[in-house]
């Protein structure tokens, strides 16, 4: 089935099997490997991206469902090789340990800050409730998001 998407401003057209999950389409077909497969059960959020302005877990969406949509992934955050404010804040606050959850955390934080530019700590924690950090480094992640919002 033909699928046409715009990812981080670039248009892609591919022939895709309906059974292919959006995460595998992004990683294997488009070679955008920033979004991670963590649990593959919809729990961990490492595969989170923004589809038509909405934060979703791409292991629970088919690639064919994204046909015609505009997708933002972690690869689109940095501009001209420079980390954006949120990414720099993650770096400054040591908000990553192994880094596996980071792409998903960044996309969830991006979606949160767009909707709510000055979230409280509780709102930040709700915003990333769908993202699991197995290093349990949540404190610094919350700090990084809070600092990026200021």
């Amino acid at each position: 089935m033909d699928v046409s998407v715009t990812v981080n401003g670039e248009r892609y057209e591919r022939d895709v099997e309906p059974r292919k999950l959006l995460i595998h389409f992004l990683r294997d077909d488009l070679d955008l490997t920033g979004s991670h497969v963590g649990c593959d059960t919809g729990n961990c959020g490492a595969c989170s991206v923004i589809v038509d302005g909405v934060l979703v877990k791409t292991c629970m969406m088919l690639a064919v469902q994204a046909d015609g949509s505009t997708i933002e992934t972690v690869e689109g955050l940095a501009q001209d090789g420079e980390l954006n404010g949120l990414q720099q804040s993650f770096s400054d606050h040591h908000a990553l340990q192994c880094g596996y959850c980071t792409p998903g955390m960044l996309m969830s934080a991006t979606a949160l800050l767009r909707q709510n530019p000055h979230p409280s700590e509780e709102e930040i924690r709700t915003g990333i409730q769908g993202n699991i950090c197995r290093c349990t480094g949540y404190v610094n992640i919350v700090e990084a998001i809070k600092a990026a919002a200021e």
Partner: protein, 265 residues
């Protein structure tokens, strides 16, 4: 994970969706996919065809009638309901939807998907039963309505049969509602949940204790604990809670939900 091979159809109308569902034995409606895609990975479900409802705008409306009846399209997401001014006419709906899953799941998961999957640990089946909602079903034979307390037939089984589609849920007016649950972790799966509505008498629907929500009626909130005891619930035992413990939690959740409902009257 790679799913089993599956055909994919994107109908342009509810009529076409119903035709696809009724003409293909192995066809299944794909709502938000937050349950179905995962059970397909585990091969617990292996449909031959997915009929994607996501682009059917006719299933996405939220309307408030002049008599206060709220009409919720089956493809309304939890996030859309939480943000809807109309849906605040029955505040418990948004309050409960905000407790489901996480941000990403609420962005994709739908009201129709929640009730039609009828997992006994889901939030919305007991809520819809307690509120006295009406389920609107369309199929090859036409349209029909089923009261929520007759809609849930068994684990993963509802009155929306093969070839049929839930199109909307209507909820009568009211404000004195409550919901309480005991979950695994803060946002996890329910061990027990209960929804209550006070309108003259008290309607309490308890989830996770049987294949379908258990509806109890009491004259007053004070009578709810006795009503739960008299119901002689036989809940399942699992690693999270023994039957005895779950029975105790059911009484607790029902009592809390009823007290919360009364507090809003």
């Amino acid at each position: 994970m790679l799913l089993r091979e599956v055909e994919y159809a994107r109908p342009a109308s509810v009529e076409e969706a119903v035709r696809l569902l009724s003409e293909h034995d192995g066809a299944r409606a794909l709502a938000g996919g937050q349950t179905l895609i995962n059970v397909m990975k585990a091969r617990a479900a292996s449909p031959d065809m997915l009929v994607d409802l996501n682009r059917l705008d006719e299933l996405k409306g939220i309307d408030l009638a002049t008599d206060g009846t709220l009409s919720l399209g089956s493809m309304v997401t939890y996030t859309e309901l939480i943000g809807s001014a109309e849906a605040r006419a029955r505040p418990i709906l948004g309050e409960v939807c905000a407790q489901i899953g996480d941000v990403q799941v609420r962005n994709r998961g739908t009201l129709g998907g929640n009730v039609c999957s009828n997992d006994p640990t889901n939030h919305l089946p007991p809520l819809m039963v307690a509120l006295g909602a009406t389920m609107h079903i369309t199929g090859p034979g036409g349209d029909r309505t089923v009261p929520a307390d007759e809609f849930f037939l068994g684990v993963y089984l509802t009155a929306a049969g093969a070839g049929e589609l839930l199109t909307k849920i209507t909820v009568p007016p009211g404000k004195s509602d409550g919901f309480a649950s005991v979950t695994i972790g803060k946002d996890g799966t329910c061990i027990v949940n209960a929804a209550a509505s006070v309108n003259g008498g008290v309607r309490v629907a308890i989830g996770c204790v049987d294949a379908v929500p258990v509806l109890l009626k009491a004259d007053s909130v004070d009578d709810v604990p006795a009503a739960v005891q008299n119901a002689k619930l036989e809940p399942p035992s699992d690693v999270h809670a023994s039957a005895d413990y779950r029975r105790r939690l059911a009484e607790l959740a029902a009592t809390r939900a009823a007290a919360q409902a009364q507090g809003k009257s």
